[in-house]
């Protein structure tokens, strides 16, 4: 489900070209290339310390980098133009505890020079009842929602969300992804840095994986799966002779009644036809394609360039 051309604009919203960043003598970003187009949702994965937050802060202009390596709709990171096009949801978001949610969002809207329906936005993120209470009384999830509300101010071209679902309950996570989908649908390019692999697997268009400052993967889930060549697991529960099925399919017995076979995705249909031909001998069948977790482990551990 690539929405690359949703804007009918071939220029990327975010363009990063061979970006390097040093912290003292340590190199924290190594030759990072990344393109993000309007309406696209990309998940940025990586261990703690892989360079995700540094990359985000560099794009925001909060930490300095070679200005010509990054462009946000043609503007330099940290420039007034770039900042007015970009929205940011930091990890572990924090506000002044003495302000109310409404006042805080009001200040952000004036800083962004955006006329917004603050009440509507706060209701949209589920803070309708709490908007006039001090932020000091909010739970972590409520602060996260307020953070999301400020992302929605003024239709940003680029949204950078750092661990957006941390502190949210399962229902709120679903709502958050619905809002992210709406953002993308209105043409915002969304980058989500996350550890919650199962969530981003279903809700993003592309996966980028960082390891030790390198971007080791950047493609659609399907393409990453094909490149990695990770096996699909097929598990057959036998009704009769388990050993015979194991011999016939070349799989291995994993308990008294089941056989597990690891095959390449291309061989899947051939195997399924064979199994269908076995008739009554097969009681049940489970197919598990490689999950993002497997891919992540593969790319984050094995594929260091």
């Amino acid at each position: 489900m690539d929405k690359i051309n949703a804007r009918n604009d071939s220029d990327p919203v975010l363009l990063i070209k061979s970006l390097n960043k040093f912290r003292g003598s340590a190199q924290v970003l190594r030759d990072v290339d990344l393109k993000l187009f309007a309406g696209q949702r990309i998940a940025l994965l990586g261990h703690n310390g892989a360079g995700k937050s540094t990359l985000i802060k560099t794009v925001l202009g909060l930490i300095s980098a070679d200005a010509d390596k990054i462009s946000i709709c043609g503007s330099k990171p940290g420039s007034r133009q770039a900042r007015s096009l970009t929205a940011f949801l930091p990890e572990a978001i924090s506000f002044h505890p003495a302000l109310t949610g409404y006042e805080q969002l009001g200040m952000f809207s004036r800083l962004a020079n955006v006329k917004a329906d603050l009440t509507g936005l706060l209701e949209r993120v589920g803070l309708g009842d709490a908007m006039h209470r001090r932020i000091g009384t909010y739970s972590k999830g409520m602060r996260q929602r307020l953070g999301l509300a400020q992302v929605l101010l003024g239709r940003p071209k680029l949204a950078l969300l750092d661990e957006p679902t941390s502190g949210l309950d399962p229902i709120s996570r679903q709502e958050l992804y619905t809002i992210i989908d709406e953002l993308a649908a209105q043409g915002t390019a969304v980058l989500i840095a996350s550890h919650a692999l199962t969530e981003v697997e279903a809700r993003t268009d592309r996966i980028a994986i960082m390891r030790k400052g390198y971007l080791v993967a950047d493609d659609t889930l399907a393409a990453l799966t094909a490149n990695a060549g990770l096996p699909t697991r097929v598990r057959i529960r036998a009704r009769g002779d388990v050993a015979a099925i194991a011999v016939q399919t070349g799989g291995r017995r994993i308990n008294g009644a089941s056989v597990e076979i690891e095959i390449q995705t291309a061989d899947k249909m051939t195997l399924l036809r064979e199994i269908a031909a076995m008739g009554e001998a097969v009681a049940d069948l489970d197919i598990t394609p490689p999950r993002l977790e497997d891919l992540y482990r593969y790319y984050a551990k094995e594929r260091l360039q």
């Binding site: 802060k57 925001l60 202009g61 909060l62 930490i63 300095s64 007034r80 133009q81 900042r83 007015s84 970009t86 929205a87 940011f88 930091p90 572990a92 978001i93 924090s94 506000f95 002044h96 003495a98 302000l99 006042e103 805080q104 009001g106 200040m107 952000f108 004036r110 800083l111 962004a112 020079n113 001090r134 953070g147 400020q150």
Partner: protein, 273 residues
């Protein structure tokens, strides 16, 4: 400017809710009233009215209290945001760092202005009610309020400077206390030592007044003391103050304000959240 006003509005909410505005105003009112009542004794012997004596005492009070209040309001301005983790998000908005700092400055200055005007105003009202006031002493009171606000604004910018230089609120508080001690106590002690050593020589005659007025706290004192004859009568440091041209003290305070804000802005500019 709109962006600075947006920041200022939020800062005013904060100052009101964390009771800073109330505390600062109460402190000023209490001290000003105490000095007005306590200072009412020597009026007869000096031939000035009650308010004039009170303004002289309050000038000395303000030298100590105004920088302290200003630093206590401002030391947390940047370091607090860094420590809370809210600065990063704020800086991703299209407001310049100078605009953000100026917004905070406007709110803090407004709070100081309220505290000074109410505090010293109460003293004036009480003096008028008890003994009546002359035009000259009223003018001296107005000058005290205005110069106190200017002195406070200098120390607000110095507070922002230490706040941007330190990575935590605690460090900023410590540095502010040090700054206060240097400007209000140690600098004068140093000068006093030099004058005693020099025993009325070249340093005391020509350099000392300039060294004195270079310190914003002393410049404030000089400005108020040389402002009116009544004030000069009621305080002791007239000789040195009279050796200076009239523009020296205002120039010192204004330069400190501009340089302080520029230094704070530049160190805030270099800060990586």
């Amino acid at each position: 400017m709109m962006r600075s006003l947006a920041v200022a509005k939020c800062e005013m909410h904060v100052l009101r809710r964390n009771r800073w505005l109330l505390t600062a105003t109460l402190i000023m009112v209490l001290f000003a009233l105490a000095l007005t009542f306590a200072g009412s004794a020597p009026t007869g012997s000096l031939g000035v009215d009650m308010l004039m004596v009170s303004v002289a005492s309050m000038t000395t009070l303000s030298v100590y209290l105004t920088p302290l209040l200003a630093l206590m309001i401002s030391f947390d301005a940047v370091a607090g945001e860094v420590e809370r983790g809210s600065l990063g998000l704020l800086l991703t908005y299209p407001a310049g760092r100078g605009e953000i700092l100026f917004g905070k400055f406007m709110a803090h200055l407004a709070a100081l202005t309220i505290a000074m005007a109410v505090g010293f105003g109460c003293a004036g009202a009480v003096a008028w009610w008890m003994a009546g006031v002359g035009l000259e002493s009223l003018f001296a009171l107005g000058r005290l309020v205005a110069t106190s606000i200017l002195l406070g604004s200098v120390f607000l910018t110095l507070g922002y400077l230490v706040s941007s230089l330190s990575r935590s609120s605690t460090a900023a508080a410590g540095m502010s206390a040090g700054l206060w001690l240097i400007f209000v106590v140690l600098y004068d002690l140093g000068l006093l030592g030099a004058v005693v050593m020099d025993s009325g020589g070249w340093f005391t005659q020509s350099l000392f007044p300039w060294f004195m007025v270079a310190n914003p706290a002393d410049a404030f004192r000089v400005w108020n003391i040389t402002g009116s004859d009544g004030m000069a009568l009621t305080s002791g440091m007239v000789g040195a103050a009279r050796a200076l041209p009239v523009w020296a003290a205002p120039l010192s305070l204004l330069s400190w304000l501009l340089l302080g804000f520029a230094a704070a802005r530049s160190s805030f500019w270099r800060l990586e959240p």
